[in-house]
């Protein structure tokens, strides 16, 4: 029997003439109908280029297929070589036979058209449907990707939908023509874990229903375990290893595969938390950072006259403390208020209420005791300043001169974070992502802070770089007795660095306690859901359950004050919020909508 797709000796290059640079050097693989192939690798490994070559989108990015065959079995039973097909032929195939889902659903849709119009267009172009027939088909497509209340959502514009919903819309568009092959390029990287689980479930279900072949590109081994039949590992444009899922995960042969599996943080349900520091051992230590009743609200207005209709309660009555040498991880989905909490500590947003105090007991230093490392190392360094100016900035801001002592400290910190000392005259763009984040860490440490706020500090980095930066952070913490506030949505990373975990949901802490306790025996319903959604190596070919519950709105009418929070204690250092009857709140919101 002929395979759906068989690629042999695929070579792809970019540029012309002397500038030609090959980025994929001879890739071979095969894919059956209804089979899922996961292509795994870090950025620059050529995994995306390989995928884009299959539907020849690589031609539009300045790339060229240099050599090789890609035999594709069309619906008509004919076998064609995609590497040599004409442009016109490819247009038909791209629309009808090979669908593609991109990483960023937010930027892949046209913001000025409703999603209904955009999906209908796919039907009009590919199946020649028009008017009501296209509309009916669109509705069916939205139902197929489990978008609740589809008829109403047709009239929505992309900005009115969440990232997860938009990715479903993208999938609906890709499926509009019943493709025989679906290429998903990191389809869930930009999404929250629980939404990710939803998208994965959807893809798995659709594949079962329609027998579509799926090529799934990712850097996340946990996801691979959940969905793939076969795995192909790529490094620097070459396939280093490929084979059935279980063989690759359990008996990897190539050193790079082993490295990937070992270096990459995997979530293991709280079994691998840090044990180098225990809060209960040192109850005498007074906290470095104490936050009490932190509340952040943003005014919400509506209508032409900007009438106030209440406030978005982004963070509501958050209390926690961190002792020296300890990491408190704040986890939650986007919109849960975790970044807002961090930003409030830095004075980037103004808290509505609440206090925080920092006590630096190591020294009597008067310097600014809280510093922050941002998520995106590409955006958080001014491209026009050299490293010396970048490192000098916090020092200047705290009102000190940049003298020889400060320069010596720069050199010491650069060396400590693993950057060459001669980088002092270089600019940010000359460094890789991981190096930039090291630079950001060095910058934050310039003023010798007591508390470091790390806002998704490793999530923009490649997996193996991530592991190294995490190790650096742990070393620095032990060395300098720093208190970390680690904001993240990535449970695997949290498990690796946190001593304690606070789970934030809809602006409130629902569970807080020792990392091991929270991750291994979550008590709150939301925490359980969150942890169940995290892909792990143990849960292979998992059938995720679809859940379409909406996140509750944080918009509250003016003058609304939440009820007193009640806590339930379970264990030494583990507290869970008792959910008072939510019906009262919902009736509030309902009354407001009318």
């Amino acid at each position: 029997m002929t395979k759906l797709l068989s690629v042999s000796g695929l070579k792809v290059g970019f540029g012309r003439g002397d500038q030609m640079r090959a980025v994929v050097h001879g890739v071979d693989f095969e894919l059956d109908a209804g089979e899922t192939l996961a292509i795994v690798g870090e950025s620059g490994s050529g995994k995306s280029v390989t995928a884009l070559s299959i539907n020849r989108l690589v031609d539009y990015g300045g790339g060229r297929i240099l050599d090789g065959r890609m035999d594709f079995l069309t619906a008509g039973g004919e076998v064609i070589d995609l590497a040599r097909a004409s442009d016109r032929r490819m247009e038909k195939i791209r629309g009808g036979e090979i669908g593609m889902i991109f990483q960023e659903p937010m930027t892949s849709l046209n913001p000025v058209l409703t999603i209904g119009e955009q999906i209908a267009e796919a039907f009009k172009l590919q199946r020649g449907l028009s008017g009501s027939a296209a509309r009916a088909a669109t509705l069916e497509a939205l139902d197929r990707v489990r978008i609740p209340d589809a008829a109403r959502r047709l009239k929505y514009y992309p900005h009115q939908l969440s990232g997860g919903m938009l990715q479903r819309v993208m999938i609906a568009m890709a499926l509009a023509t019943n493709p025989r092959l679906l290429i998903a390029d990191e389809p869930t990287t930009a999404l929250d874990v629980s939404v990710q689980a939803q998208i994965m479930a959807l893809l798995a279900e659709l594949r079962r229903e329609t027998g579509t072949g799926l090529i799934f590109i990712t850097h996340d081994m946990g996801l691979v375990a959940g969905i793939a039949d076969r795995v192909m590992v790529m490094q620097a444009g070459e396939v280093v290893e490929q084979g059935p899922l279980d063989r690759i995960l359990d008996r990897p042969e190539h050193p790079y595969t082993r490295h990937l599996l070992k270096a990459v943080p995997h979530f293991s349900g709280g079994r691998h938390v840090r044990r180098d520091h225990h809060r209960t051992d040192k109850t005498a230590t007074s906290p470095t950072l104490t936050v009490e009743g932190m509340t952040v609200r943003f005014p919400a207005t509506a209508g032409l006259l900007r009438r106030s209709i209440g406030a978005i309660h982004a963070v509501e009555n958050v209390d926690f403390d961190v002792i020296p040498g300890e990491t408190l991880a704040i986890v939650g989905e986007s919109g849960s208020g975790k970044s807002t909490t961090a930003r409030a500590l830095l004075g980037l947003v103004k808290p509505h209420r609440g206090t925080f105090a920092v006590v630096d007991e190591r020294t009597g230093n008067r310097r600014k005791p809280v510093q922050m490392v941002f998520q995106n190392p590409y955006a958080s360094l001014n491209p026009r300043l050299d490293v010396e100016s970048l490192l000098a900035e916090p020092v200047r801001a705290s009102g000190e001169r940049v003298d020889d002592a400060v320069r010596a400290r720069m050199a010491r910190l650069l060396e400590r974070v693993g950057l060459p000392v001669d980088s002092i005259r270089r600019y940010a763009h000359e460094f890789s992502g991981g190096q930039r984040q090291r630079l950001c860490i060095a910058r934050a440490l310039m003023v010798n802070p007591a508390v470091l706020v790390l806002d998704e500090a490793v999530s923009a980095l490649d997996v193996s770089v991530q592991a190294k930066v995490l190790d650096l952070l742990i070393d620095l913490q032990n060395e300098m007795k720093l208190a970390y506030l680690f904001v993240s949505h990535d449970m695997a990373v949290v498990e690796r660095i946190a001593h304690r975990v606070a789970v934030l949901y809809a602006g409130r802490i629902v569970e807080i306690g020792a990392a091991e306790a929270v991750l291994s025996s979550p008590q709150h319903a939301y925490t359980r859901r969150l942890i169940a959604a995290v892909p792990t190596m143990e849960r292979r070919r998992e059938i995720f359950k679809l859940d379409t519950a909406d996140i509750p709105t944080l918009l509250r009418p003016p003058g609304y004050e939440p009820a007193q929070t009640l806590w339930r204690t379970c264990g030494d250092d583990h507290q869970v919020r008792i959910e008072v009857d939510d019906r009262e709140e919902q009736s509030h919101a309902a009354a407001h909508r009318q």
Partner: protein, 280 residues
């Protein structure tokens, strides 16, 4: 500075642009130092309206004055007006644009609406209006041209400044507690160097043209002083009889504009640290 010059010389269009601008500046300085072939005001009555000869390389005008000498003075005059007016416009425009983007709200609205009103008028008309109020002369034409080009700088600065303001490194700076002045200069202004240099060189070219226009209309530089525009104005009626009177100042204007534009392109490339490796 050494690296900067090196980069400028390595840049293909930068070399040409810099050479042209440098020649102009030398010519202007020589003229200011009085090192013209003849006294620009001296009238050789017998040699009126002569074509280019060995004695007078660019001929003489209708009063018998040496065109080359007057051209040298004129270049100095036109450059002085162009540089001062653009310098003024860039300074005021940048300040207004930066503060508008940074403070936002009412100040932003006020500044930008005023600039919109100014932009609504054609440049030369606005300059005319200004001169009509203040009176003609070199100094007023500097002010008039600065007045006309300020809104363009304000806009060019405000747009990118608004987008840079939301970048993470500005947030990072605020989290260190850096002062507003520091953020405005080191983070915003420094990142605006590229659009600003391009705008400055373009505006230099335009203002050279506007100055010529104003002088042509008799509202800029006043005779017997000389400027490129004034020379063009004087020569128009004699175009058929003495084309050299028109051709040399016209070429001088054209080459000057070309020089600024080439230099501007080169500066944009060189001043960007991301391009430095590629260029040098």
């Amino acid at each position: 500075m050494k690296a900067f010059l090196h980069g400028l010389l390595r840049h293909p269009s930068g070399r040409i642009g810099a050479a042209i601008v440098l020649v102009y500046i030398i010519v202007a300085l020589l003229a200011q130092a009085g090192l013209t072939p003849y006294d620009p005001l001296k009238q050789f009555r017998i040699e009126r309206l002569q074509g280019p000869t060995f004695a007078h390389w660019m001929g003489t005008d209708m009063f018998g004055r040496d065109v080359l000498s007057r051209l040298m003075i004129g270049i100095g005059q036109s450059f002085m007006v162009a540089f001062s007016s653009v310098g003024l416009a860039a300074a005021i425009g940048t300040l207004l644009g930066l503060t508008a983007a940074w403070f936002g709200h009412l100040w932003d609205g006020l500044v930008m609406r005023c600039m919109d009103v100014l932009l609504a008028f054609p440049a030369i008309l606005l300059a005319l209006l200004f001169i009509a109020v203040v009176g003609p002369g070199t100094f007023t034409s500097i002010l008039a041209i600065a007045f006309v080009y300020t809104p363009i700088f304000t806009r060019v600065v405000r747009g990118p400044a608004l987008s840079i303001k939301t970048r993470d490194f500005v947030d990072a700076a605020r989290s260190f507690g850096s002062s507003s002045t520091y953020i405005l200069t080191r983070h915003l202004l420094l990142n605006l160097v590229a659009p600003l240099t391009v705008q400055v060189t373009l505006a230099l070219a335009w203002s050279l043209l506007t100055e010529s226009g104003l002088s042509f209309l008799g509202l800029g530089t006043q005779p017997p002083n000389s400027s490129l525009g004034l020379m063009l104005a004087d020569s128009v009626n004699l175009m058929e009889m003495a084309p050299w009177l028109l051709v040399f100042p016209a070429i001088a204007v054209m080459l000057g504009i070309l020089g600024f534009n080439l230099l501007g392109d080169a500066l944009r490339d060189i001043l960007d640290p991301r391009m430095r490796r590629v260029v040098a």
